[in-house]
Symmetry: C2
Subunit: 85 residues, 2 copies
Amino acid sequence: MSLLRLLLGEKKKSASVAKERLQLIIARERSGNEGPAPDYLPALQAELIAVISKYAKVSSDDIKLNLEKQGNFEVLEVKIEIPQG
Amino acid sequence: MSLLRLLLGEKKKSASVAKERLQLIIARERSGNEGPAPDYLPALQAELIAVISKYAKVSSDDIKLNLEKQGNFEVLEVKIEIPQG
């Protein structure tokens, strides 16, 4: 299933589309054969949101974060609703 | 299907896991009732890669880009292979 169809499918459920939405997903797969690599995802996430705020008016109330970890794999999801006008 | 399972599924197919991999997905859904909004995804993508380069040694040869557009929806996918050591 393409990412677009997965993300688009999610979108259809949302009632009205009065806002612009931005979804940022960072998936990291460690190779597993090196020692404990630095966990830079939290710092990376903060900087990425700062970059996005340059392009769209974003307030912290409009940001939802979700972090999933499984083995060498971690996925950080950032959902941002951008008020219009 | 959760994003982790979708992305993890993709990962299993890759032969050996000798490198660290980072996947960045930016999905933007415009509300559609405002005029042509500025297309800031290309500029945003360049800045996000610059931020990632602060955390991991990344060369342009290791970066694969994919942009999908459908109606008010666009998904930008950035796949980065990070050489170890």
